[in-house]
Point group: D2
Chain length 246, copies 4
């Protein structure tokens, strides 16, 4: 049984992760960090008495009350950086789903892991679908002459292309040799969509499409739960979900 | 039994139409017009003895040898215009799959039909799939807030967006009230694709997608065959396949 | 402004409809009928103070407190039958999304509408997507030789094929002339799916696919809201959403 | 430059392979084996003078005239077995795309490779798309609870499910732990389709789909060409395209 604190656990993704982890046999969510809902319990945020988890206003306050093995963070870069530092100092493994860090910040995380000999994870997309998609992209990139990356999200998503599309484009360039004309990206923003990513490989006489459709943010909980079980076997920064799964 | 001349019958689409019409019970292809292959027979172009159809260098020459009820034209605007005029003058119904006419030219065709009291068809896409897609677009345009039009073709297709996408966009604007942000068009050019069109409607909590995939140009023959049977019931220019089918 | 009572408004679909209607300018949800939550307000069911709507245990009780123009019903056949009778007797238009009625019961509803000169709607799927899909099916059925109907739902959905698939198959048989071999139905039950329907038409050299993806049950609210505005123009039973939209 | 004989080179797939290989820089098709067209040249079968390749009635006859490094075989099991034996005896690497061998026959091929210290390939699907799909299937099988395999082919394809579906189902069972209910197979036979395969993984809150669409049999030539370059590095039977590509 591993005790976990979830920072940002009242946000849309964070909440889905708290809900998913609560029903996992080897994990116990012992605290949530959220400035907005500090003092309440998750039961009143989710409107379900099963979630009897206290909410603290800061990492310091939470760590004054509980002693977790892992800190899961779905907040924002500035806050997540502080949480990272506080965690590794106390030998708590940080698992970050937060995105938007600079190259320098990521280097800093790597050095902190080495200095404190503490495993940590920084994964932009914790779903198994994203993992499978990236594996297929890495295998396919070398063999097809054309590739197109498509993302579809609701209109309020302003990031174009999506963060996942950027990651896929990066991998395609890394593993393949596409010219600008042969590797394109298309972002659709449409009402009624939840979150959809697609990679389309075109070759001689054939097309291969790998698509990933998220219907519920609980899918991110699956990868987080796997990371929680494995992260203590590492003493460096893990940035590829494949390292935790394979 | 209707006798038909196919102008442009040795091109990629024209050939598929000749092949399709040859196996229809109520149609007989009596001549093909093609400058490039003039003097040969279709049997040597298609490499199949079943196609014992003479090829003439011009419409005048063909009409000197055969007396068709219908002239099917898959050439280019300049040539097709001449063919149209020659046909209606002799009470032969022209059926044009040729695209790229100006508004003025289309008006001219309409007047020729009236003057000679002769039915003619000018249809940019003769497939039943394109027909069904347009019908769905007309029904859906008024009810959804977002729409995206996607076309996928091989890299050598330079027209962006495709002619069919342009037609769908026109219909969407005509039947719906989309802002520029809510109606987008995306063209992918990928090896291995034949011809693919998609309309995607996004609404509150739902998505409807209508897609059309052409695996063989014989699909255009189906609509042409239907038009051949019906066109003599008209004495004006028909520009919507729905008018010939419904 | 039309006052509406929603029977079954605390169920999964009913709740989405209450939430959707609450934000429509011309509709006011004045009561919900639910045995389970009777005595509470929707605000505590939905956990949002915006929904200050009383919940009554029965239709009789609700109609003792409020005087709606329309009764929306998403319950089950036995209960919905009672609600229908009570509504038309008091010149309240019933709008039923409840499914599972026998032919005899539907005939009975028709006679009640005539007797009381009262419009009513009985629509198995109130989404605009289902409407558009059915329109396309009706147009396509006559023109394609092969059709396949696919539904995908989560594993807990036991109905195979889905009710919507049954309706599509009925329309395909009605509007087309498919043999058993040419019209097939395929039901997939997969984790992670919400609700997906597809019709696939196969013809000579082409395929047309119409698909409908429900990401949120609010999509059913859209059709219900349109029905609420139009139903008083009818004095018979409406069973096709197209009659209310076109 | 490697000289290659293509047995079955006048069949539908064989012809596409001859056409593809003819335009590859490091390969020369020096003969085709076909009882039906023996004595002719490929130029008259394909109707293109570029294919000046003699056609022999048997492997023995072909090997009396040419001395290839590789024998590519797209015939049928009985004939392919003879070709395999004749090839390895003469240190010619056989590359078989022919399917339908028994387990015993495959064991026999393996022993022949060892006895003659000769590399050979027996690959049911030589396309890169099939390779990529299988790689994704192997990665995904362990991580998702539900999987569905879909194949779509024209009505004349009688094999249900397709050979590729069988292979995918085998891999899913091998790499995953699906119950019968969680792993289903669906075969659609529809006019207008060329060849389509899909694997659909369902997990908590997400779906991943990998699909492969063949628009032209030249896609099989790509894998054959790669196998021709690599097969002499092996001295056993290769049955997985991944071994030749990775």
């Amino acid at each position: 049984m591993k005790d976990v604190v979830v920072a940002g656990g009242t946000g849309r993704t964070g909440r889905a992760i708290v809900q998913y982890l609560t029903y996992q046999p080897n994990v116990r969510v012992v605290a949530v960090i959220s400035r907005k809902y500090a003092g309440l319990h998750m039961s009143s945020v989710i409107n379900d008495l099963a979630y009897d988890i206290p909410i603290y206003k800061s990492c310091q306050e939470a760590l004054g009350h509980v002693r977790p093995a892992v800190l899961v963070d779905f907040t924002e870069p500035g806050i997540a950086k502080e949480h990272f530092q506080l965690s590794v100092e106390q030998n708590i493994n940080p698992i970050l789903g937060t995105t938007g860090f600079t190259e320098d910040e990521i280097e800093h995380f790597k050095r902190l892991c080495v200095r404190y000999c503490c495993g940590a994870a920084l994964i932009p997309n914790f779903s198994l679908g994203a993992f499978l998609m990236l594996q297929a992209v890495r295998f396919g990139a070398a063999f097809f002459q054309d590739a197109a990356v498509i993302d579809m999200y609701p209109p309020h998503k302003t990031e174009v292309p999506s963060g996942t599309s950027k990651q896929i484009l990066f991998e395609l360039k890394n593993y393949g040799t596409f010219s600008a004309k042969n590797l394109t990206s298309h972002s659709l923003r449409l009402a009624g969509v939840t979150a959809y990513q697609e990679v389309r490989f075109g070759g001689i006489g054939e097309t291969v499409v790998i698509s990933h459709d998220v219907s519920d943010r609980s899918c991110f909980g699956v990868g987080v739960a796997l990371a929680i079980q494995k992260i203590n076997h590492f003493n460096q920064l893990v940035t590829d979900l494949a390292d935790l799964l394979c």
